[in-house]
Symmetry: C2
Subunit: 402 residues, 2 copies
């Protein structure tokens, strides 16, 4: 009998999760339409929605036009009732944001220019800031963290850190998972970006999608048939350490010719420092600002800058060729610092893909620059936390647990 009971509770939670995901994607819906879409009985939908209404996760709206002119009451997710905090870790930058469930930004702050010696201080500051946010905003119900890969998800740490040397000593699970009044969820940064697209970009199907993060490191998150590709340890889709030249530049990971050594913001900054005629004060800038200075120079018509952006785009394009042959996504979304190269960069990427990918695959893969209102990895932290709520509502609301 215990098994039967467990099974029923698991099934109820599963169906609540399906209803929440459905409402997240479709906005306002009648009970009848939800039941139809999810193949649930009228009795089941009544019971499920009653619990979710009690918990305040969903709300009733005015009448909807129903079939045969019958009016029916609409239901929608109460996206304003709960908030989530998001933390994005990068090499020299930590970004902390708060979003509502619709992905609308409520708060944003940055800790910048983090040096190796300052890591303990930075960790202390992150604790302080999150404690303060949680104190000031009782609506926050979860924290999502986006951590550079290769992220060993069961162990809570980054395996090797060519662009994250400073953070190697931090065990994210030990450091943060039990530190707050709300649960903390962690994901590899680019994978969080892919989840942000799946959750917040309702205009596309997003069952097969790659988020190609080209920032201080180069990362990739892939959604294949609705699920993220994680690998055994969480270290899959590390495109930054896939080699484009077996005899190429050395990388801290042990490999040669790693993509990240050619087109990350750090690699671009190194090149700018070696060519001071392009961005004269480049050595004094952050990686982001140095790259942005190059992109501005290219946009102003400087032919050396244009040529460099095109060359970077060619490397980014080699990465796309590998992404298509390895993962065959429907869309590749290029985001983070280097996506600032804009159409000039994108056209170089597309040229490489057209040359080097089987025509019928090239023609059926969309390559675009990220269009989310905020950085996809930052939004991704929120997406990870919101997905946790939608998938396991019972874990967040005592009212639902029974």
């Amino acid at each position: 009998m215990a098994n039967t009971h467990l099974s029923q509770a698991t099934l109820s939670e599963h169906n609540r999760s399906r209803v929440l995901h459905h409402l997240y994607r479709h906005g306002v819906e009648s009970r009848a339409n939800i039941a139809k879409a999810l193949d649930l009985t009228p009795a089941a939908i009544t019971k499920i929605t009653a619990k979710l209404l009690d918990a305040g996760v969903i709300e009733e709206t005015g009448d909807l036009e129903g079939a045969r002119n019958r009016r029916s009451i609409g239901l929608h997710l109460n996206t304003a009732k709960f908030h989530v905090a998001s933390v994005k870790f990068a090499r020299s930058l930590v970004q902390i944001n708060v979003f509502d469930l619709a992905g609308t930004e409520i708060h944003s702050e940055e800790l910048t220019s983090i040096e190796h010696t300052e890591i303990p201080q930075t960790i202390a500051t992150i604790h302080e800031r999150l404690d303060a946010l949680l104190r000031d905003d009782p609506q926050i119900i979860a924290i999502g963290m986006a951590v550079p890969g290769p992220y060993l998800r069961r162990e809570g740490r980054t395996a090797m850190v060519s662009s994250m040397q400073e953070w190697r000593s931090v065990n994210f699970i030990d450091e943060f998972s039990q530190a707050f009044r709300v649960p903390v969820f962690m994901e590899q940064d680019a994978r969080a970006g892919a989840l942000a697209y799946r959750l917040f970009d309702a205009a596309h199907e997003n069952r097969h999608l790659a988020y190609y993060l080209i920032g201080e490191g180069v990362g990739l998150g892939v959604i294949d048939h609705d699920d993220t590709i994680n690998g055994e340890l969480g270290a899959a889709t590390e495109i930054g350490h896939v080699s484009i030249d077996m005899n190429g530049r050395e990388c801290e990971c042990g490999n040669r010719g790693c993509l990240e050594r050619y087109c990350s913001a750090v690699a671009i900054h190194d090149e700018l420092n070696a060519r001071p005629e392009l961005v004269p004060n480049s050595a004094s800038l952050t990686h982001r600002k140095a790259c942005n200075a190059l992109f501005e120079l290219a946009n102003s018509g400087n032919s050396d800058a244009i040529e460099l952006v095109q060359r970077i785009g060619t490397y980014v394009g080699y990465g796309c060729v590998t992404i298509i042959n390895a993962f065959n996504p429907k869309r590749i979304i290029i985001g983070d610092i280097v996506s600032g190269g804009g159409e000039l960069l994108l056209s170089a990427v597309q040229r490489v893909v057209n040359e080097r990918v089987i025509p019928e695959l090239a023609a059926r893969t969309t390559i675009m620059l990220s269009e989310l209102p905020a950085d996809a990895t930052v939004t991704g932290g929120a997406a990870v936390a919101i997905e946790a709520l939608l998938s396991h509502p019972g874990a967040f609301m005592d009212d639902l647990a029974s």
Copy 2:
């Protein structure tokens, strides 16, 4: 009410499939143990197993030792009752086999040395042979076909065929899917190999695994968290066309430096033809025989042959480095013609992986040569057909449909 009914039928089929998969993996089990493992009620398990017994898919065995010394009746899959046919397509070879549900080979035949001009004749021969096998063996309930990638699964054809030029004109779905009294299931060849390991290799968990096919072409099948990675069109995990050198050898796919241009049986055969001092009659041999001649020469101690096998192993190793960084499987199983290089090849592969992969990932990835009794792609064709039966038993047995 229609929805409720549909839901119940779907649920029944789902639970039948779970019971079959459980018995496939665990051999003989009591109803009580199956119910416990799958979280089903005693009433449900009684109903499900009654239908499967009626259909002859499962059988009762003698008494099992149960809890508290109570005897209980064991159930097991009737693996001898049904057979499946398997067809493996490669560049110059078609292999047709028949297996029982346990993967035991019942029949094997090969069509070899297929030239471009003979494709229509070869297709006709495959039809004839399968018709004859189906006529002679009424136990055959399905056919599985393993087709070289990039295989566009909805369209039924190989997208581009650097090692399959001859087969490009064939639409496998049009040609075969409705041609026989039994259903036909098709899968990319290396993916079928990965499915063979998941199904037939009960000694391992196999939730995260890569089958690395190095034959006339180079392919990869990846199981990530129990599911194959397919991509939007079915063209994912095409490791043979991932570049190891952005300025390297040209490939028919449009890319440069494709892995397949360095370590496929065809690439090895080309090299042997250019070095007649190694295998004097190499030009007159098939790709397989030329490679085997090289491996024998290396095993006999010829230093030039040893050096060449080690170099091939180095290229295979670069592929492994990419596989680990892209897919992070728990095991990489190297199979097909080039795995004939044996321990000499494998040690060269392992050396590259140890040098070029982050130590904590290298230490936690097992790389091995295929150990299945038959070629994993051939067995894979059977696995694809058997998986179809285990997953959708109702589609095979009228008795279950109600």
